[in-house]
């Protein structure tokens, strides 16, 4: 029999430090698969965040440069402008990208910086222990939204991807999830599209991925996957949010 599924070349052998059932490692793998398939391992540079994925450089077998919390888009801008023929991606949690990193992300998109952002939306601050995130949905319990997130006290969750779609420099934006095999495959295709947009020089591309955090949601991994389907997607509907890659000519 032939091996039809195994560890991607771009993912190192180190065991993941994530909690059982965490979406981060699924997303890592899927990115690794895309890098392998596009044959870009040697020219790819990743920018890991502060967040549960802060150690991502232990897993991705590509060059990586750490960003401080929220500044991945700025670091990636510096990298990509200096090395325009490399493939640069940032990897960011919802707190990282949609709270402290709001300005950097929106402006990178607005400038049409030609890199790809993987935005892992797990609706909480995972690494720091489950505080409210900008994407925590109304009613959701976290350690800093006692009694559930309340509109007037805590504000609304922020639809960052929809805002980024308004920016003129963004080329491709899709929201996916990694809570089921089919959604995982869609995520992979979305990431591939985003990388391809970058390879064609079309500007800013982003994939927002709804990702389970069983630990902070206080659910089993299987429950967490269901909760994404049943609750989370109502607030963050899946699908392509912006795609102008068809209209645009390659830039070289």
């Amino acid at each position: 029999m032939k091996k039809v599924f195994s560890r991607p070349k771009s993912i190192k052998k180190n065991p993941f430090h994530y909690c059982p059932g965490c979406g981060h490692s699924i997303i890592h793998r899927v990115i690794g698969e895309v890098i392998d398939e596009l044959g870009i391992q040697e020219i790819t540079i990743g920018v890991p965040p502060a967040g549960c994925a802060v150690l991502a450089y232990f897993y991705f077998d590509v060059d990586m440069g750490e960003a401080s919390h929220g500044r991945a888009a700025a670091v990636a801008t510096g990298l990509k402008r200096a090395l325009p023929d490399r493939i640069v991606f940032t990897y960011q949690g919802d707190g990282d990208i949609a709270a402290i990193g709001t300005a950097e992300t929106i402006h990178a998109a607005s400038r049409g910086e030609n890199f790809t952002t993987i935005f892992v939306n797990n609706g909480v601050y995972g690494m720091t222990g489950g505080q409210m995130a900008p994407t925590t949905i109304l009613g959701q319990n976290t350690t800093t939204s006692p009694g559930g997130r309340k509109e007037r006290r805590d504000g609304f969750p922020i639809p960052l991807s929809e805002m980024l779609a308004v920016a003129k420099g963004s080329a491709y934006i899709e929201r996916t999830a990694v809570n089921s095999p089919s959604n995982i495959l869609k995520t992979k295709r979305a990431i591939e599209k985003a990388f391809r947009a970058q390879m064609r020089g079309l500007g800013f591309s982003l994939v927002e991925i709804l990702s389970p955090c069983p630990t902070n949601w206080k659910m089993s991994p299987v429950e967490a996957c269901h909760w994404i389907d049943e609750v989370m997607v109502k607030h963050f509907p899946l699908g392509v949010i912006k795609d102008i890659t068809g209209e645009k000519k390659d830039v070289n």
Binding site: V54, M127, G129
Partner: protein, 177 residues
């Protein structure tokens, strides 16, 4: 008298709670106590530790590089702490889970088969309380009475949990008879 105890195991095993309850017990008995849980990124890997120092005098450092007692609830904890305990110290081992044993000859080893003992409670419950029971019996750091008071004050408003924990504590306490 200054006694340092380290509790260590998986995140889900109620490690921090054991430390907290022991420290509170020491306080109830009028001693100086410090309790230092591990925190943050360390938790992500699934490990949890908690260090408790109980003393008649002011406590210089809540950290225990050479604990008198170590309570290890899983194998990684065992690996990590077996070499740190002071000569003459005691290691409490969750023997249902941990297969290896320390090779040092200068330590006392108390094996507690938590999974088996917890069968009386309907299986795999309150294993931390069982261990705590054994621990206070062996070390005498805090009296059983005090510990029951602590548990009462902590879980008083949830009678079911209080009862379960109290029973578990006794099971552990009596295990060493």
């Amino acid at each position: 008298m200054l006694i340092k105890t380290v509790f260590s195991g998986f995140g889900g095993q109620g490690i921090i709670l054991m430390g907290y309850l022991l420290a509170t017990g020491g306080m109830y008995e009028g001693k100086n106590v410090t309790c230092l849980p591990s925190y943050g990124a360390e938790v992500r890997g699934g490990t949890a530790n908690c260090t408790v120092v109980i003393s008649k005098e002011e406590i210089a450092s809540p950290v225990a590089s050479e604990p008198d007692y170590a309570v290890v609830m899983n194998t990684p904890a065992m690996v990590r702490f077996q070499n740190q305990v002071q000569t003459g110290g005691i290691i409490f081992i969750n023997s249902s889970l941990i297969e290896i044993r320390p090779i040092r000859g200068d330590l006392e080893i108390i094996e507690v088969p938590l999974n088996e003992l917890s069968k009386q409670l309907g299986g795999n419950k309150a294993t931390n309380m069982i261990m705590l029971g054994t621990f206070i019996r062996k070390t005498g750091l805090v009296s059983l009475e005090t510990m029951i008071n602590v548990i009462k004050d902590t879980f008083g408003n949830r009678p079911g949990i209080f009862k379960l924990n109290k029973t578990a504590l006794s099971i552990g306490y009596n295990y060493l008879e």
